[in-house]
Structure formats: structure tokens, C-alpha cells
């Protein structure tokens, strides 16, 4: 050797336990190391760990001697190595079969796609089995073994959907007797093909099964060369192949990357695509495997490689779902299901009320039970059909409308058909604004009961700007009027926020009081002769706003369709509130104050300011609801302006879990229900509108108390982590 040894960069290997010719992990890691050392001119150092207790000190020794790269097997002591790595920042630790926990820059774990190797083994087993029963023996159910196992199962199912897979775990990687016993028990269940992943314990199972004439598949390395001693051991002709993990290749690759400066910690995955796993040659079984089967396996290999085919096994060996439907199912379906069931239950109970309050049903019951029952059903069906048609329109009519429109460009029928739908959306619009208002308050820990009053004041200011300013174009006048609404609501609610911040007065009381003040203020301003009343009119209404302050309609030529651009504004508001809450520093502060005011204060957040700000924003949104109803629908302000949005808004925020998108969905639901209810009220159904309020109330109860729904439908709660008990009292500061 010409080069001075001491100048060569050093790479080291410490066996986890055992010698470097153990025929498995340590040996292959060593081979990879040797190859890299050879190729890149490195000095390699090796310590064979005799007892586990010396493992760490061996690593320390090499690290201290200046090894820049240290390779070892991580499955047993990976965590300790990680801890050690913190003390030797200049040494890069490469751990075979281990996923680092803390992702340090000098710890790299090498993991393998055992599931792919297992899948191919399974595919082959599925094609080879004659009895239709194949077996798997595992050592301990750690991630790599689980990956082999489930990959194998899915591989079998892929090529032979009638085959059954039975399995047994020996609970050990070393106990050969248990391996033999496992093989016997599976043979008793009729297997004729066996795959084992369990170290020497598993190999013993393979030997046993092969001796009984079953096909066997080895694991980790080509067991033809090890367990079956290069074909000289009995049963080697029954070894189909082995699912091989190329540890040597992985170690070599990792070292190469390190030298190229590309190794920066984390995990490297080795799979079919980068030659990390594969199937071993068929050896003595080659002639028994038809070329057709061999071709199929090649196809599957390619499909796996290109990810066209998925093993449906996760990184921890768990079975994952695939395809659209399962993915949806594996989604947090309870979150979707519970509201749905709540709505459904509420409608069912509502149905009882509908029947119970229908005089015709009573009359029918007096003639006989079944007559009564029939009448109940027709009454309920009648009512809910109206509800549906009132909310969405009649589907047949909509289709008809489209047909006529397509043929004649005449949209009269179509417009009439979609009128209910547009009306639902229009009714949803103020709900969205008001719901967002309350939700935003909730996020800051504030209970804004005053949305109703803010809606009023917003309306007042919007209408004032709408009629008093004249001669401006729409592009200026409309925004001014909208801003007027926002400012009105914001000022009104900020009063409550300010009182809370300064004096600690509870916002619930203050906003309720402010509601009354707002109602009386409107009385004063709008009553005949009041400062904002319409001159010469005997009703307590404001003047009409200027045309230039109208929110543009979607169908300007058809005044019966009242849906206007306010709906678009509401959708924008949903986006803006989301952005504000979750993407801005102010939103962060508000959420922090809402979630833990103590921590917020300690972290230097101005809690008072957050209260005032959140209240003001909340009020601005409620004011927008008022502005929408004035500028988009009524175009003037009557004294009896209230429609209870402010109170429904609390329900909406609760239903939507104070999330903007949740509020949007809840608002649409309420809008559709309200629109439907109006139709339901009319003949032929003639159901009192109160029924819908009952249904709405029931929905809220069921959503607020999911346990009730769970109980009715026997859904087990997803055991969330935080079943914490609330220790913070309501209203405590």
C-alpha cells in the first residue's frame, strides 16, 4: 500500500452481537462496507460485539478513534446509538433496519421495503399452491416481520384470490423448536407452501416444512446458500426462492452517499426500484416453476417497481387501504357521520311532530289504526317532499328547464325551476356572516351574544350610507355602504370588547344589553318622524337606498330571484376569516388568548387588545349580515328588521365547531331548511313553520351532545387522547 494508512478516512462497523460471518445481517453489512472501502479507498475497522453490554463501548471506541462513518445493526439497540450520536457529532452513524426517532443530522437509518419482497413471495406462493392453503411463520411481530407478513398475504391474494393464508408467530428469532412446532401446526392446517420470516427460528420452520414436501420461501438472504447449504441440505429442491433484503447494497449505497456529502440524517428506504429488495434465484426449484409463472412474477415485479401496484402495507407493517372508497372510509368518517346522523335523527323526530299535529292524521286514526298510520305516512311524505322541493327545487323541473334552455335558449322555465335553490343560498348568506361572527368570538374565548344588535347597527349604517349619498357610481357607493355596515357592527361590538378588557365585565351581559340598546336605537331613528325615517310615509321605515348601492343580482331581469352577489361576498368572508385566524399573527394571538389566556399573557400577548380586536372583527361580520339584507334584499330598512340571525348564529358556530368551513356548511344547512320550511308551510303540506325550528333545535342538541347520537346508533367513540376533564370554570379569567 502506497498511501499512509492514517490519512485514509475511516469507516467502521460494530456488530450488534455476533460475528461478521453470521450469515445474516452483520455479514451483509460487512460485505457492503468492504465493497465501499475497496472502491473508495477507505480504511475499515471492525469490532465484533461478543456480549450486548459491550456494544456501546465498542461504538464509542471506534468513534473516538476517528471513524467518520459507523455502521451497525439498529434493530436491537438503535435508540442507544441515537443517544450516543449526540455525543459524537462528527461521526455519522448508519443503522441498518432502524428508523431514527429524533432525526439528528448524523444518524441515518436504512429501512427496506420488506412488504415488496413479501408481496412477490406471496404472488409466487399463490401461483404454486395446489391445496389453496399457504402459510406464514413469523418470529416476533416487529415492523419488518409485519411488512413481510402482510406483503405476503396481499401477494397471495393478488395471484390467487381463492387461496387462504394461515400464520403463526414463534415469539422468538432464535428458538428453533418453536419454529418446528409452528411449521407442524400450519402443516396440520393443510398448507403446501410456507414463507417464514423469523431468523433461525423461521429457518427451522422452513426446514421442517420442506422435509414434509411443502414448498418453502426463505427470507432476508438467499437461504439456498445458508439454511440449505448451497443445495446440499435435504429439502433444498423445495426452496422456491427467498425474499431478499440487500443489506450489503444498502450499506454500500449509504457510504457512497456519505462520501458524496449527500447523507444528512433521516431514513433511506431500499425497495425494488433501487435494488434494495428482490427475489432470490429459483435454484433447484427452477424447473418446477413454469415459465408462465416466472413471467407473471416478472410482470408483478415491474408493476411494484413502478408503483403501479401497491402492496397496501404501511411503513410499520400495518395494512393500508387503497382506492377511493376505502380511503374515504379510513378517513375520519365519524366527523362526517355524526352530523349526518344528527340531521337524520332530527328529521325523524320532526316527522313524528308533523304527523302528530296534522288534524287529518287524527281524523284517520279515529277511523282505524292502519288508516291512521297510512295518513301519517302520507302527511310526513307530503311535508318532507315540500321541504325538499322548497330547498332544492323539483329535480324533474330543473332537468326540463335545462332541456328547454338548450333547445330554445329560453330560460324562463329553468329560472323558475332553480328559484328555490337560489332562495336557499340567499337565505344562507346572512347566516354565513353571522355564524362567522360568533365563531370568531369563540376562537378568542368570547361569547358574542350580540350579533343580533350588531346586525341592526350594521344595517342602520349601511342603509344610511345607501340613501344619503347620492350621485356616486356603484363602484364607489356600494363598497362605501358595505363598509358602513361593517363599521357599524364593529363599533357596536367593540364597546363590549373594550368593557371586558378594561373592567372585566362579562361580554355576555354587555352584548345582551347592547342588543336592546340597538333595537331601541333603531326604533328612535326609524319611527315616523325620526331622523332616519322615510319622509311622508306612515310606516316606520327608512328611505329607499340609491340604485348605486344595490348588491348586484345574479338575474337582474328577474326580481323573483333574489340571490345576489352578497353570497359571493359571504364565500370570500369564509376564506378571509380562515386566513385571518390561521395564517396571521393577529389570528394566532386571538386563538392563543381563546385557548389559554394565562399562557397568552405570559408569552407577551396583549390579551385586552385581542379581546377588543376579536370583538370588533366579530361585529364587523355581523354588520355585514345586516348590510347584505339591506343592500341585497330589502333595499330599505324597516323597524322590524330582526329575523333572529344573531341567535341562530350561535348555533351555527357551535355546529361548525367554530371553523369557518364548518360554519359555511352549517349555514347552508340552515338556509336550505329555512327555504324548505317556507314551502312546507304553504299548501298542500301546510305544516307550521315551528316544526322546522324544532328540527333545527334537535340538530343542534344532537350535534352538541354527540354521545346521544352515539348511543342511539351504537357508535363507539374514537378513543381520542384528550378525555380531559375541564378544570377551567366558565367565566373564569
Amino acid at each position: 500500500m502506497t498511501e499512509d494508512i492514517s490519512t485514509k478516512p475511516q469507516v467502521g462497523l460494530v456488530t450488534d452481537i455476533g460475528q461478521i460471518d453470521d450469515g445474516t445481517y452483520n455479514q451483509y453489512a460487512y460485505e457492503g462496507l468492504l465493497r465501499a472501502a475497496d472502491e473508495f479507498g477507505l480504511e475499515s475497522r471492525v469490532i465484533e460485539t461478543a456480549v450486548l453490554e459491550e456494544f456501546e463501548s465498542n461504538l464509542i471506541q471506534l468513534a473516538k478513534e476517528g471513524c467518520k462513518l459507523l455502521v451497525t445493526i439498529g434493530s436491537r439497540k438503535g435508540e442507544d446509538v441515537e443517544r450516543l450520536a449526540a455525543r459524537f457529532p462528527d461521526t455519522h452513524f448508519i443503522l441498518v433496519d432502524y428508523t431514527p426517532y429524533a432525526r439528528a443530522k448524523n444518524v441515518t437509518g436504512l429501512v427496506f421495503a420488506e412488504d415488496q419482497a413479501g408481496f412477490m413471495a406471496g404472488a409466487l406462493a399463490g401461483l404454486m399452491t395446489a391445496s389453496g392453503v399457504v402459510g406464514f411463520v413469523g418470529g416476533v411481530d416487529v415492523a419488518p416481520v409485519l411488512k413481510y407478513h402482510h406483503g405476503f398475504e396481499h401477494g397471495v391474494a393478488h395471484t390467487n384470490n381463492r387461496a387462504r393464508v394461515v400464520h403463526a408467530y414463534t415469539g422468538s428469532f432464535t428458538d428453533q423448536e418453536k419454529g418446528e412446532a409452528a411449521a407442524h401446526s400450519l402443516l396440520d392446517q393443510g398448507i403446501d407452501t410456507l414463507f417464514a420470516a423469523g431468523g433461525p427460528s423461521g429457518s427451522a420452520a422452513l426446514r421442517t416444512a420442506a422435509a414434509q414436501g411443502a414448498w418453502v420461501v426463505g427470507v432476508d438472504q438467499d437461504e439456498w446458500g445458508t439454511t440449505f447449504e448451497n443445495g446440499s441440505a435435504p429439502g433444498s429442491d423445495h426452496l422456491l426462492t427467498s425474499a431478499v433484503k440487500r443489506i450489503d447494497h444498502a450499506v454500500y449505497t449509504a457510504i457512497r452517499q456519505a462520501l458524496e456529502g449527500k447523507l444528512t440524517g433521516g431514513t433511506l428506504t431500499f425497495n425494488l426500484a433501487n435494488d434494495g429488495v428482490e427475489l432470490a434465484p429459483y435454484h433447484d426449484a427452477d424447473s418446477a416453476i413454469s415459465s408462465e409463472i416466472q413471467g407473471k412474477i416478472l410482470e408483478i415485479r415491474k408493476a411494484l417497481q413502478t408503483r403501479e401496484l401497491d402492496t397496501r402495507v404501511g411503513p410499520d407493517g400495518q395494512v393500508t387501504m387503497q382506492g377511493f372508497l376505502p380511503r374515504i372510509l379510513s378517513w375520519n368518517w365519524q366527523a362526517v357521520l355524526l352530523p349526518f346522523l344528527a340531521i337524520f335523527s332530527a328529521l325523524v323526530i320532526g316527522a313524528i311532530f308533523i304527523a302528530a299535529f296534522d288534524p287529518e292524521v287524527w281524523a284517520a286514526f279515529s277511523e282505524g289504526f292502519f288508516k291512521g298510520l297510512g295518513a301519517s305516512f302520507s302527511s310526513i311524505a307530503q311535508a318532507y317532499t315540500s321541504l325538499f322541493e322548497g330547498a332544492f327545487g323539483r329535480p324533474s323541473k330543473i332537468i326540463e328547464g335545462f332541456r328547454i334552455y338548450a333547445q330554445t335558449r329560453d330560460d324562463v322555465v329553468l329560472r323558475a325551476a332553480i328559484r328555490p335553490l337560489t332562495e336557499s343560498l340567499r337565505l344562507s348568506t346572512p347566516y354565513i356572516f353571522a355564524g362567522l361572527a360568533v365563531a370568531l368570538g369563540f376562537r378568542c374565548g368570547l361569547f358574542n351574544i350580540g350579533a343580533e344588535g350588531q346586525y341592526f347597527v350594521g344595517g342602520l349604517l349601511a342603509v344610511f350610507v345607501g340613501y344619503s349619498i347620492k350621485g356616486f357610481p356603484l363602484i364607489i357607493h356600494l363598497p362605501l355602504a358595505i363598509i358602513g355596515g361593517m363599521v357599524g357592527g364593529a363599533l357596536w361590538s367593540a364597546i363590549a370588547g373594550w368593557l371586558k378588557a378594561k373592567t372585566g365585565a362579562h361580554e355576555v351581559i354587555n352584548t345582551i344589553m347592547l342588543n336592546y340598546i340597538a333595537f331601541r336605537l333603531a326604533d328612535y331613528l326609524l319611527n315616523v318622524g325620526g331622523p332616519m325615517s322615510r319622509p311622508g310615509d306612515f310606516r316606520p321605515v327608512s328611505p329607499e337606498i340609491e340604485l348605486s348601492a344595490y348588491l348586484p343580482q345574479f338575474f337582474p331581469n328577474d326580481p323573483s330571484i333574489r340571490l345576489n352577489s352578497g353570497f359571493i361576498l359571504a364565500l370570500i368572508a369564509v376564506g378571509v376569516v380562515y386566513w385571518f385566524l390561521f395564517k396571521t399573527t393577529l389570528g394566532f394571538e386571538i386563538r392563543t388568548v381563546g385557548a389559554n389566556p394565562h399562557a397568552a399573557r405570559t408569552a407577551g400577548i396583549n390579551v385586552s387588545r385581542s379581546f377588543v380586536l376579536a370583538m370588533a372583527f366579530s361585529g364587523a361580520l355581523a354588520g355585514l349580515a345586516g348590510a347584505h339584507d339591506i343592500l341585497g334584499v330589502l333595499h330599505f330598512m324597516p323597524n322590524a328588521f330582526s329575523s333572529g340571525y344573531g341567535f341562530d348564529a350561535i348555533a351555527l358556530a357551535l355546529l361548525g365547531k367554530s371553523h369557518p368551513v364548518g360554519v359555511l356548511l352549517a349555514s347552508l344547512l340552515f338556509g336550505f331548511l329555512r327555504a324548505g320550511a317556507q314551502r312546507m308551510q304553504a299548501p298542500p303540506a301546510s305544516v307550521p313553520i315551528d316544526i322546522i325550528q324544532i328540527v333545527q333545535a334537535l340538530i343542534i342538541i344532537f350535534i352538541a351532545a354527540p354521545e346521544v347520537v352515539r348511543l342511539i346508533y351504537r357508535i363507539r367513540a374514537a378513543r381520542a387522547a384528550d378525555e380531559a376533564v375541564f378544570t377551567r370554570g366558565w367565566g373564569s379569567t
Partner: protein, 504 residues
């Protein structure tokens, strides 16, 4: 006699962590079984399984050789299992009696709550086990030590005979610990069996009959106090040698950073808590405040950090007058604050780990620009801090409440230590931490000191104050009775001063 409780092969995985991995544990009747382990070793998880809060993925539970399924706390209670959680679960605005009877209310005429019946039972229980407490006071008015008694009474009220105590001593003063041990002994004398989780090895040696050590979710060892040493336990827990002694060079104090003069403040109830406190902390030194809890330390820290109104006196930090300045102004002056009550003041439990890592710097670049947050930067910084401070979490986006208690503390330490600071105010910085992490945090504090940071350390652990401080100020009844050089004073001297006995 069969063991009163046996856990076999308990396994529980959370997304990304195997919190319990085939754990076996045997509790003999009438004994104290200590459960030791690093932060995040899975102790609380195991106990939550036993108490029915979590369902195990695998494993069996036997009570007196009977296999049982514990599917909820109610089941656990009916089997005689009771648990005091690491973080208390009392309702502050209820009285002691109301808290105790919650869930098992005694009723008068089958309708009305009967607090007096409860109160008399509480009286009996207190009598029998030496758990003195007035049933009619509100919980929020009780010091933590007494709140703990309430928790224990709650269990006895429900007739538990297997008691799980999750880090009961973490929040207690040394005196309270003494009291607490007396209670434990009287419980054992009456045949109760206890599982006792702690990080304090001396306590284990004193009170335990058996010891199980967990590490990384597995049983790392089972032993007895008579067969082991503290050092051995420590290395069993952490998996390596632990230096129990802090190793530091003499301080090289520089300019005065924190100057406190004649500070006066009142506590929450309006009683004088600080009566003219004066001291200074210099660059590169650690001033430790020793004192029995409740002698004004909490109020002192709050006054310094802008969280409590200062009635008289002044606070200067790096020359700037920060008397009654806002918390943010003080933080911006380069003050780091590790608050005493991490769950109340240090963290927003429902927020992700990442947001908690920037709880007081979220508004600064690179985390925010023009008022809009940059989640990428926040995550990147959080990731770096989590690694550097060895915060063990499967992901940065899970709520911080899912972390083990010790790891929650590390989140705060990571946050406070990783910004440029000139003054570190640390209250009980290692409360609830395992020995390995304590060693680590002590090292970081000394490192900060050596970088020239002034450190004000408040701790009810005399040991901690003694080993970290360069000077020690002893507080008693709202006054600093003496300031001593740490290397010239003994434990006993400090202890006497803490008890209000003035030396001459």
C-alpha cells in the same frame, strides 16, 4: 397470597410511538411499587390503561388472579382502582366536598345533593389516614400539597384499594413530601397497595418495596431498594451513565443585568407577598432563590416578568427601567421565562407542538412577515429545537397535550433557550423531568451562564439550588433574609434560613 394486581404483556401504540411494549408488572398486596422511567418512557400511558382511559392493543390485566377487562374509569373504580393524575383533575370553583363526591354523589331523599353526608365521610377518612383538610373550602384556595390530599381522599372515598399516584411529589415542597410519605405509610398499613411514579430516586429508595424501570416503552429492569443504588437506577432509566453532580467552573460575573430594589407586591388575595425585596444578578452568574414554596417566590417572578403589578420599588434590566412594563416589552429586552406552572402559563395545550415552540416569537421574522405567519419557517425552527433539546414527539403537529409531562417541559425550555437572551428567569425548570433530562437542562443553564447570561433560578428543590447557584438568596415571608455565596454555605444553614431561623 396472589398479587393484588398483575399486568401481562401490555402493549399500546400511538401514531408514531410504541408507548408500551409488552410490559409486565406485579403489584403485591400492601406494598408500594415504584414505577420509574425517563420522560416519555410510557409510565402515564401504562397507568392510564390500568385506569381504563386507554384501551391496550394487547395484554392482560389480572386482579387477584382474576382476568379483568377495564373499559373505562368507572370500571376501574368498581374494581377498586383509583388514580391521581400527573396533572390534577379537580374543579377549582367547587369545594373539597363537592369535588370528592363528584360522580358518586350522596343524595338526600334521592334528589338533593347531600354535601354534609359527604363531609362527614371525608372527616372519617381524613381522621383515619391523617389527611387533614377542611371539606368546605374551595379547591382554588388550596395550595397544591393540600389539593393532592383532596385527590387521594377522592380515591379513598370511592373505596379504592389499589392507588395509582402519577408523579405525586413533583409539585410538593420537601416538607410536603415528608407529610405525604407519612400518608403513604398509613395507607400501606391499612392494606392499600400503591403504584407510585416519580423521577426522584431518593424517594424511591425511601418508600418503595419494589421497583420497575421502564425505558422506551419496555421494562428495563425490576428490582428492590435493598438490591440497588440510585446510580444504578439512573443508568437503568436512561441507558447510560448519568452524572448526578453538576460540573461547573467558578463563575466570572460581569455587569449587573437585573437590578431589583425594594420591590413590593401583593398576592391574589391582596396580602403582602413581597416586602421590599432587593438584589441584583450579574452577567455570567446564577442567583438561586431558595425558600419554602409560598414565601413570595411566585409573586417575585411574576413581578419581574410583567405579570404582577408592582406597588413600590423598581426593576431594571440591562439598564432599562422595566418596572410594571408589559410582558412583551420585558421579553423583548432579552428575558427568557420558564414559568412555574407549565400547563397553565407555559403552553397552550390544544395547540400543536410547533406553535408552542414559537409562542412568544411568532410575530417576528422569519416566523411572520407583514403580519402573516410563515408555517414553513415555524415548523423548520420547531423541528430544529425539538431535535436539539431532545423533545420526544412523533410529530410536531400533534397537540402538545399528547406529549409526556417531561417532554412538555422540554418544549418550554427549548423555546426559551433558543432565542438571544441576557437574563434567564427559570422557575422550577426541572419539575417533572427525569434524571437524564435534569442533567441535560442543568448543563444548558450552566452553558447559558458561561455565555454571559444572567440567571435567576427559583426552585423548591434545595438540591438544585445548591448545585447550580453561584449565590443563593433565601426568601422567607416575602423578604430576602440573606444572600450567601454558594460555596461557603451548607445545606443545613440554608435550610435553617428557609425555616425563618436567622443566623447571626
Amino acid at each position: 397470597m396472589p398479587p393484588v394486581l398483575e399486568l401481562r404483556g401490555i402493549t399500546k401504540a400511538f401514531p408514531g410511538v410504541l408507548a408500551n411494549d409488552h410490559i409486565d408488572l406485579t403489584l403485591e398486596e400492601g406494598t408500594v411499587h415504584a414505577l420509574l422511567g425517563e420522560n416519555g418512557a410510557g409510565k402515564s400511558t401504562l397507568m392510564n390503561i390500568l385506569y381504563g382511559l386507554y384501551t391496550p392493543d394487547e395484554g392482560e390485566i389480572y386482579i387477584r388472579d382474576q382476568r379483568v377487562e377495564i373499559d373505562g374509569p368507572n370500571k376501574a373504580i368498581s374494581l377498586g382502582i383509583g388514580m391521581v393524575h400527573q396533572h390534577f383533575m379537580l374543579i377549582p370553583v367547587f369545594t373539597v366536598a363537592e369535588n370528592v363526591m363528584l360522580g358518586v354523589e350522596s343524595l338526600r331523599n334521592g334528589i338533593f345533593l347531600d354535601p354534609s353526608a359527604a363531609a362527614s365521610r371525608i372527616g372519617e377518612i381524613s381522621q383515619m389516614y391523617g389527611l387533614r383538610v377542611n371539606p368546605n373550602t374551595y379547591v382554588k384556595e388550596l395550595p397544591v400539597g393540600i389539593q393532592q390530599r383532596v385527590e387521594i381522599i377522592k380515591l379513598l372515598y370511592r373505596e379504592a384499594d389499589i392507588l395509582i399516584l402519577d408523579e405525586p411529589t413533583a409539585v410538593l415542597t420537601p416538607q410536603e413530601v415528608e407529610e405525604f410519605f407519612k400518608i403513604i405509610r398509613s395507607l400501606v398499613d391499612r392494606g392499600k397497595s400503591l403504584i407510585f411514579i416519580t423521577h426522584k430516586l431518593n424517594e424511591v429508595m425511601e418508600i418503595a418495596d419494589d421497583i420497575t424501570v421502564l425505558r422506551g416503552g419496555r421494562v428495563a429492569g425490576v428490582t428492590k431498594p435493598s438490591q440497588t443504588t440510585q446510580k444504578e437506577l439512573a443508568s437503568m432509566m436512561v441507558g447510560r451513565e448519568v452524572v448526578l453532580q453538576v460540573d461547573k467552573q467558578p463563575a466570572e460575573p460581569g455587569d449587573v443585568v437585573l437590578q431589583v430594589e425594594n420591590l413590593e407586591a401583593v398576592d391574589d388575595r391582596g396580602n403582602a407577598a413581597l416586602r421590599g425585596v432587593s438584589f441584583e444578578v450579574r452577567e455570567g452568574e446564577v442567583l438561586g432563590i431558595a425558600g419554602v414554596q409560598g414565601n413570595g417566590q411566585t409573586e417575585l417572578v411574576q413581578a419581574l416578568t410583567g405579570l404582577r403589578n408592582i406597588l413600590a420599588g423598581s426593576v431594571h434590566i440591562a439598564g432599562a427601567d422595566l418596572t410594571n412594563a408589559s410582558p412583551r416589552k420585558i421579553l423583548q429586552q432579552g428575558v427568557a421565562h420558564v414559568p412555574e406552572d407549565r400547563q397553565q402559563d407555559g403552553l397552550v395545550l390544544s395547540f400543536p407542538v410547533s406553535d408552542n415552540m414559537v409562542l412568544n416569537t411568532y410575530y417576528k421574522p422569519p416566523f411572520a412577515r407583514y403580519g402573516s405567519l410563515n408555517q414553513k419557517q415555524i415548523l423548520a425552527a420547531a423541528d430544529e429545537r425539538a431535535r436539539e433539546y431532545d423533545v420526544r414527539t412523533p410529530s410536531l403537529s400533534i397537540p402538545v397535550s399528547n406529549l409526556s409531562g417531561g417532554n412538555q417541559q422540554k418544549v418550554i425550555v427549548a423555546r426559551e433557550f433558543s432565542r438571544p437572551i441576557s437574563l434567564l428567569i427559570a422557575s422550577q425548570p426541572t419539575r417533572g423531568l427525569d434524571v437524564g433530562s435534569i442533567e441535560y437542562i442543568h448543563r444548558r443553564i450552566i452553558e447559558k451562564r458561561d455565555e454571559g447570561t444572567a440567571v435567576l433560578l427559583v426552585s423548591s428543590e434545595l438540591e438544585e439550588v445548591m448545585s447550580l447557584s453561584d449565590r443563593i438568596a433565601v426568601m422567607f415571608e416575602g423578604e430576602i433574609v440573606d444572600i450567601l455565596w454558594a460555596d461557603e454555605v451548607t445545606r443545613e444553614q440554608v435550610g435553617l434560613l428557609m425555616a425563618g431561623v436567622k443566623g447571626d
